[in-house]
Symmetry: C2
Subunit: 169 residues, 2 copies
């Protein structure tokens, strides 16, 4: 939501990287940013996850409406919402596709009234990057940290010191 290419480029890139690394299927980005696209495509090419889609949209409200019309639920992460611990079980039990809306403090009121849930990852100001990470962590119950991409060219072999990367043939 409300990606401002100059100001927010790095933050939106972090949101996209977290989405991929923590198991989301793709991301919609309001606006267009070819540098961001290049960064994520390079990560996908090296570390896998070609299925992860990046779609730039002009009308994010339409994305929300279409998502709900097709049976999915829309979760808006905001410090003003209901604590995640109170609502997570309900959301997991819905067992349907979830669209997560994140943005800066400038997110329009419309999203508060047209999402299924407004959820707080703590009621303090912090970061949409952290909020998305914790939300996906609760959805996947920690399993996202063991994600493997079968199409990865490069894989890390965890080390106590230094860096070790395996090239997959």
């Amino acid at each position: 939501m409300h990606h401002r290419p100059e100001r927010d480029k790095r933050v939106t890139t972090h949101v996209a990287l977290v989405a991929r690394a923590f198991g989301a299927k793709g991301i919609f980005i309001h606006g267009e940013d070819m540098n961001l696209l290049k960064t994520i495509e390079k990560v996908k090419a090296n570390w896998g996850g070609k299925y992860f889609s990046i779609e730039f949209v002009k009308n994010p409200k339409k994305v929300v409406r279409d998502w709900r019309n097709s049976g999915g639920i829309v979760v808006h992460l905001t410090m003003y919402g209901i604590p995640i611990d109170n609502i997570m079980e309900k959301i997991i039990n819905k067992n349907t596709k979830i669209l997560v809306v994140v943005g800066s403090e400038k997110v329009e009121g419309w999203y508060y009234y047209n999402s299924d849930y407004n959820i707080a990852i703590g009621n303090q100001p912090h970061s949409e990057v952290a909020a998305l990470a914790i939300f996906l962590d609760r959805i996947y119950k920690g399993g996202e940290l063991n994600i493997q991409f079968s199409d990865a060219k490069l894989s890390i072999i965890p080390q106590e010191r230094g860096k070790k990367v395996r090239k997959n043939e």
Copy 2:
């Protein structure tokens, strides 16, 4: 580590906001950024947490050395490290102060060899903002999301729709 004011301002601000909101006592930042300082001081003034310290340092290696010399442990978060699930219990059992080192992919090799632990929040490229959030979440076992600052001027009253803020007299 390696804060580049022009490029990284927003990301480092997010790191600092997550640190405060998720229960850290303060942050050391390599370099100097008065806009970042202003942003965080404003958050502290409104939402509380005056104890949260922001210290700009010229020599972050000295911070690491001093921390260890004074009995604390240093944890460097990196995608190349040991999976967090394998090591968290050990760290919590140390029951001592923890310095968390985060940075971009440009973090020098020195930190890999002079931290007590190199820990991976997943072995995928993502974000130091997300990595710090998940690390603190595991330290505090989710309790960080209920953090209250006794010196807050403003507090959120969680809502299903919209925003509700209480002014504390």
